[in-house]
C-alpha cells in the first residue's frame, strides 16, 4: 500500500468542492475514516457557530442613532435634545429676569437698626436769638454729665418782643 495522505490533504479533501479522485483513498480505510472525521468536524463547526450566534442576545436595532450619524445630528432625537436645551435656556433667562425685577428680599435681622451700646441722652439746648434768628446750641454739660431728663425740650423758642 502506498503512503497515507497528509492531515492537511485529508482536511482539504473533506471540504473540497469537487473532491479529487485519489487512488489511495479508495483503498485505505484509515484515510477514509480520517476524511469522514473531518467531514463530521465540519458539521460540528457549523453547529457550534450557529449555536453561539443564536445564544447571544440580540440588541435592539438603533435606527435613530444611525439616522443621526447619517444626517449629521438632524434626526428626531437631536431635535428633541435641541428643544430641551432651548427650553432650559429660556427658563433660566426667565428666572433671572424675575429675580432681577423683584425687590431685594429683606432680611429680618438686617432690617433692624444696630442695637446701640448706650442710649444717648438728649442734651440741654440753649436758644439764642441775638441775630434775629434762632440758633440752638447744646448746653455744655455740668460736671461732665448730661441731663438725664428726657422731658427737657430740645429747643425752646422764646416769643419775640
Amino acid at each position: 500500500m502506498d503512503k497515507h495522505l497528509t492531515e492537511l490533504a485529508l482536511a482539504h479533501i473533506a471540504d473540497a468542492e469537487s473532491p479529487p479522485v485519489i487512488e489511495h483513498l479508495r483503498s485505505c480505510r484509515e484515510c477514509q475514516r480520517a476524511v469522514g472525521e473531518y467531514r463530521w468536524l465540519q458539521g460540528e463547526i457549523t453547529a457550534a457557530l450557529k449555536t453561539e450566534a443564536k445564544a447571544i442576545p440580540l440588541p435592539r436595532p438603533r435606527w435613530w442613532d444611525l439616522w443621526e450619524r447619517l444626517h449629521g445630528g438632524r434626526g428626531p432625537a437631536a431635535a428633541t435634545r435641541r428643544l430641551f436645551a432651548a427650553a432650559g435656556i429660556a427658563m433660566l433667562i426667565c428666572s433671572l429676569l424675575v429675580a432681577w425685577s423683584l425687590p431685594t428680599p429683606v432680611n429680618a435681622s438686617s432690617a433692624l437698626p444696630p442695637k446701640p451700646l448706650s442710649i444717648p441722652l438728649p442734651a440741654i439746648v440753649t436758644a439764642d436769638n441775638e441775630l434775629g434768628h434762632v440758633t440752638a446750641t447744646p448746653t455744655p454739660s455740668q460736671s461732665g454729665r448730661q441731663s438725664p431728663s428726657t422731658l427737657t425740650p430740645a429747643l425752646t423758642l422764646y416769643p419775640k418782643p
Binding site: 471540504d15 472525521e37 457549523t46 453547529a47 457550534a48 449555536t51 453561539e52 450619524r69
Partner: protein, 201 residues
C-alpha cells in the same frame, strides 16, 4: 432577502425604506460580527459603522453584482478585521476548553437529553477552540461553515486567492482538531464513553 423595491426606494433617499433595509439585515449582521469579534458591544458598533457606510454609498450598490447582504457582508467583515487588528485578541484558556466540553460528540443524541447536553458542551468546546486558531484560518472557517460561502466568495471577502482561502480553511480545521484532541487527552485519560463506543464499533 430584501425586496429590490425597498433597495430602490432606499437609494432614492426614502427614510422608511432605509430603515426597513437596516432592520431586515440587523440580526444577521450582528451575529456574523459577533462571531468575528466575540464581543457584543464591538459587534454592535461595527454593524452601525457598516450601515452608516452602506447607506451613505447606497447609490454605488448594483443588484446585478450581488445581493445587498453580500455587499453588507464584505463591508462588515472588513470592519471586523480592522477592529480586531486594533485590539488584543481575547485569550481562551485550554483549561476552560477542558472544563466545558469534549471533542467527540455522539451524532445520535437527538432523543437523549444527557447526550444532547454533552453535544452542547462539545460545541462550546469547538467554539472556544476556534478562538485559539490563527486569525486568517478562523475568518475563513466562519465564512465557509457559518455563511456557507464558496471559496471564490471567501477569497473576494478576505482579499486573497481561492487557493489561499481553501488552504486557510484546511489549516484551520487541522489546528482545531489538534486543539480538541489535546483537550480531550488532558481531560479524559481513561477514555470517553462515546469515543470508546465508537472505537468498539
Amino acid at each position: 432577502m430584501v425586496d429590490e423595491r425597498i433597495i430602490h426606494d432606499a437609494q432614492r433617499g426614502d427614510p422608511a425604506a432605509q430603515r426597513a433595509l437596516y432592520e431586515a439585515h440587523y440580526a444577521a449582521a450582528f451575529r456574523l460580527a459577533y462571531l468575528f469579534l466575540q464581543n457584543p458591544g464591538d459587534a454592535e458598533e461595527v454593524v452601525q459603522d457598516a450601515f452608516v457606510y452602506l447607506l451613505r454609498n447606497l447609490d454605488r450598490y448594483d443588484g446585478e453584482k450581488g445581493t445587498f447582504w453580500a455587499w453588507l457582508r464584505v463591508t462588515l467583515v472588513s470592519r471586523c478585521r480592522n477592529k480586531r487588528r486594533r485590539q488584543q485578541p481575547p485569550l481562551v484558556s485550554l483549561e476552560g476548553m477542558e472544563a466545558t466540553g469534549r471533542f467527540l460528540v455522539d451524532p445520535n443524541a437527538a432523543n437523549d437529553p444527557a447526550r444532547a447536553l454533552e453535544n452542547r458542551g462539545a460545541r462550546r468546546a469547538i467554539w472556544q477552540a476556534l478562538q485559539q486558531v490563527s486569525e486568517g484560518a478562523r475568518e475563513a472557517i466562519i465564512l465557509r461553515f457559518y455563511e456557507g460561502l464558496a471559496y471564490a466568495d471567501i477569497a473576494r471577502i478576505l482579499d486573497c486567492s481561492p487557493e489561499a482561502a481553501r488552504a486557510r480553511v484546511a489549516h484551520g480545521k487541522l489546528q482545531l482538531r489538534r486543539l480538541l484532541d489535546e483537550g480531550e487527552e488532558r481531560r479524559a485519560p481513561q477514555g470517553h464513553p462515546v469515543e470508546t463506543a465508537r472505537a468498539a464499533g
